[in-house]
Amino acid sequence: MTTKINKATRHTSQNEGLIFEKSSPGKRAFELPPLDVPIVDANALLGAHHRHDGVEHFPEVSEIEVLRHFTRLSTWNYAIDLGMYPLGSCTMKYNPRVNEFVARLEGLATEHPYQPQELSQGCLKVLRLLERCLLEITGMDAITLQPAAGAQGELTGLLLIRAYLEKQGNARKKVLIPDSAHGTNPATAVIAGYEVENIKSESHGQIDVDKLRDLVTENVAALMITNPSTLGIFEQRIPEIAEILHAKGALLYMDGANMNALTGITRPGDFGVDVMHLNLHKTFSTPHGGGGPGTGPVAMKKFLEPFRPVPVLVEKEGGRLALDSNRADSIGRVKAFVGNFGLLVRALAYILAYGPGVRQATEDAVINANYIRKNLEGVFDLPYELPSMHEVVFSDAIQKKNGVNTMDIAKRLIDYGFHPYTTAFPLIVPGALMIEPTESESKEECDLFIEAMRAIAQEAAENPALVKSAPHTTRVRRLDEVGAARKPILRWKPTDKPEGRLHHAHKTPHPEPTPTV
């Protein structure tokens, strides 16, 4: 294969076993200061039956080995810091490092959630300012910063709706969810005690408003809508949708996963949304960290405010801030303590960096998505043609003819030095290629991406086997997921041999470059 790849070159990476395989009794990586009180007899204090002599098979290694171990593992990851990460609906934007710095400041990171509130005014001011900023951005009236993640934000939002409807006399039975929605939406509705009714999208990928009108009855508590939808398209009839729901006493919930397309341009509170969550790890740049932690604040209209989870941030006389847990109508706590404070600090730092200029970030995100769309249209099939906002969804219909599917293209993209786009989603597009570049990519990086995608399309036409067997340049090749699920191995055991227990017969040692590029 002679394709020229401009973005990436292979380099050697270190091999590394499991930390347990490096362990040897007597090695240490951590020493405590000497004990300044008399040592006690643990047996006597705890009772011999409660006591053990340390955790068996816990690692025993030195400091340099720990640092090298994790540094080596880190080099096996792709990351935003290395390049474009165009995962649709994930908003993998730059994570500013000053945010990390301020979240670790003495006086913020060190604070205990139960310390007296008069000694927490700094923390509470951070919360207050973030609340105000997020309300301005969403156009809503009240907010809770407590939920630990988007999915928990969804749950909080539905519980607010439930509590409000209960107070009106009937919690109702059903939540409507479009078939384009993320899987958390229906899973959340069930945890909130609702039945799920799916609504099919119409031919442009928008909510079928006529169908919706038929479905909305006095039994429907809410519609959960993602806007822009997971196709990256703005729900143009959303004010009408809100009216249909409100006419029957049902509420409009908006999944704010795609707020990166709207910030500074339009506000959900203005176009009829009653309650919504925000993913601070998407739009507001807190790092994904390999899968969390997230944060999912929930913003709402005034009439839902009494139901907010406790504690609620309140302002007392003289501007003193306090946390109030004594709220009769509250849905209760959704997690312990006030919220993921360390992440709220980062999100506020992000907002302060932009100020009103955050609109430029949104514009750039939308420019990038449309630029990629324009330059790949025709090369890849575009199933829904309405204008794209922050992301564009293609399908693999053209490449499918040669037996190449979206997953193959995604895996081949890895060889070109990019993280794949989102493949398995949205469900309404078979063979979806869901691409969200975010505002963090330069024109140069977008051009490299376009160049890579075009090259892969050509390969798919001329040499499909090459694409189907990708990636060729990674430490490991495609992994046996079926085998992993059939006989799950979910932890290391002392009886394990180094380098795993499986298929030793045809094990190929690292590194084993397959020169295809």
Partner: protein, 448 residues
């Protein structure tokens, strides 16, 4: 703006390529009357230096300079700089959930190591990639027990962290759980007689915390025997993981739910932390959340993938075991690095120091005539003392001495307004303990 990598010329070129006259045109699908015509009223823009200045000013308005005896679910422990060095590596910090296994083996192997460490610590056979925190892990453990038993009644110790009980109630109310509380006995442990009375054939789970919210270590092995006879499952919550350096893990429990904040995570005013859920192999299909598993690639090399995803919301939608989507990957990584640094000896020694200092602190406080140890049960690094007057009032006076006093149990237990939950870790110095004792003696000697 420094985060945006486009020059005005490049923007223009891109717009021309798209065929749009302006960026505004790209938003034409939004009905015009909903498009903002004014900039948002947000503070900023701030330079990096101004951002640091703003947060330093806020930090200065908090509790710096005070000695603290607070624990109650959030603990101050030593943390190595190595942990922060590792988790700030961009390859971990700015990576997504490892769905594309070929280029996320680092995160996946670290999760696999985390799962192993959590099994070793808790004495269980399987642990997931982490939950939001201890409170939601406990709640998910209860929901899991309900699915496994097909029952709805859940007996919850009153000595479970009050905020964990709150979260259980929030979820339970809508999931149909029937929650009942079990009292504590005189020695601070679960009231076994009350448990026996309530334990009938319709109980899904019994939930206890150990060391419990009063600091007392529960007889989990004995409780497991009792619970097992009724066909219910025993859920043990742990808020102070360092205890496991010395205290036998609740291996007999069916599900363990733990807060892992003590493993290298800063208190950070309440989060982000890391929840742990661990159980038995046979229950794995009902476990919520992500799991990393070992497998091989097409050439037979060891590798790791996210596995058993058919339990999860992105595949099963409304039939999923939970709506949880993320884990706390970076916090779990911090815990993994921290525990690897500590190792077997380090964790044991840290636990020994906690126990020794807590014992010393109790001794010092008991020398004050009016102070009494409230519960006789064994404790680890927290214990409850009864004062002759309201802890709230005493704490207000301690503040004048630059001491943040112990947790006021009366805020969650109306019958315990004179009871204080004192926490002492390896970071508390002897001098601080002695200062507390002196101050407390002086305060209690003063008339009310």
């Amino acid at each position: 703006m420094r985060y945006l990598p486009k020059s005005p010329t490049e923007r223009q070129e891109m717009l021309e390529s798209i065929g749009a006259a302006s960026a505004e045109e790209l938003f034409s699908s939004i009905p015009e009357r909903y498009r903002l015509t004014e900039p948002l009223k947000l503070p900023g823009p701030l330079s990096e230096a101004e951002i640091i200045q703003y947060f330093k000013e806020r930090a200065a308005e908090n509790s710096s300079g005070y000695a603290s005896f607070l624990g109650a679910g959030v603990y101050n422990h030593l943390r190595s700089v190595i942990t922060d060095v590792v988790i700030q590596r961009g390859e971990f910090l700015t990576s997504y959930t490892p769905y594309q296994a070929e280029i996320t083996q680092g995160t996946l192997q670290a999760i696999f190591e985390f799962q192993t460490l959590m099994c070793q610590l808790t004495g269980q056979e399987v642990a997931n990639a982490s939950m939001y925190d201890g409170s939601t892990a406990t709640t998910e453990a209860v929901l899991m027990a309900e699915r496994l038993t097909g029952r709805r009644r859940v007996l919850v110790a009153r000595s479970l962290h009050p905020e964990y009980r709150d979260v259980l109630r929030t979820y339970g109310r809508n999931c149909g759980s029937l929650l009942e509380e079990l009292p504590y006995a005189k020695d601070g442990t679960l009231d076994v007689a009350a448990l026996t009375r309530s334990l009938r054939g319709d109980v899904a789970a019994v939930v206890v915390q150990s060391p419990n919210f009063f600091g007392v270590i529960e007889e989990t092995a004995e409780l497991a025997r009792l619970v097992k006879n009724s066909g219910a499952l025993l859920v043990v919550a742990i808020t102070e993981g360092v205890s496991l350096g010395l205290v036998k893990p609740p291996a007999e429990a069916d599900i363990v739910a733990m807060e892992g904040q003590s493993f290298g995570l800063a208190p950070s005013y309440g989060g982000p932390f890391v929840g742990v859920i661990a159980s038995r192999d046979k229950f794995v299909r009902q476990l919520p959340g992500r799991l990393a598993g070992e497998t091989t690639d097409t050439e037979g090399r060891r590798g790791f993938v996210l596995t058993l995803a058919t339990r999860e919301q992105h595949i099963r939608r409304e039939k999923a075991t939970s709506n949880i989507c993320t884990n706390q990957a970076l916090c779990a990584l911090a815990a993994t690095v921290h525990l690897t640094l500590l190792g077997k000896e380090g964790l044991r020694e840290m636990a020994q120091q906690n126990l020794s200092k807590a014992a010393f602190a109790l001794g010092e406080l008991e020398k004050i005539p009016a102070v009494r140890r409230a519960f006789a049960g064994p404790f680890f690094n927290e214990f409850t003392v009864e004062l002759p007057r309201s802890v709230k009032l005493v704490n207000a006076q301690l503040l004048e001495e630059k001491i943040i006093g112990p947790f006021v149990l009366g805020t969650a237990y109306p019958e315990l307004t004179k009871h204080a939950l004192v926490c002492v870790t390896e970071t508390t110095t002897r001098a601080q303990i002695e200062k507390l004792a002196v101050a407390l003696r002086r305060i209690l000697e003063r008339p009310l």
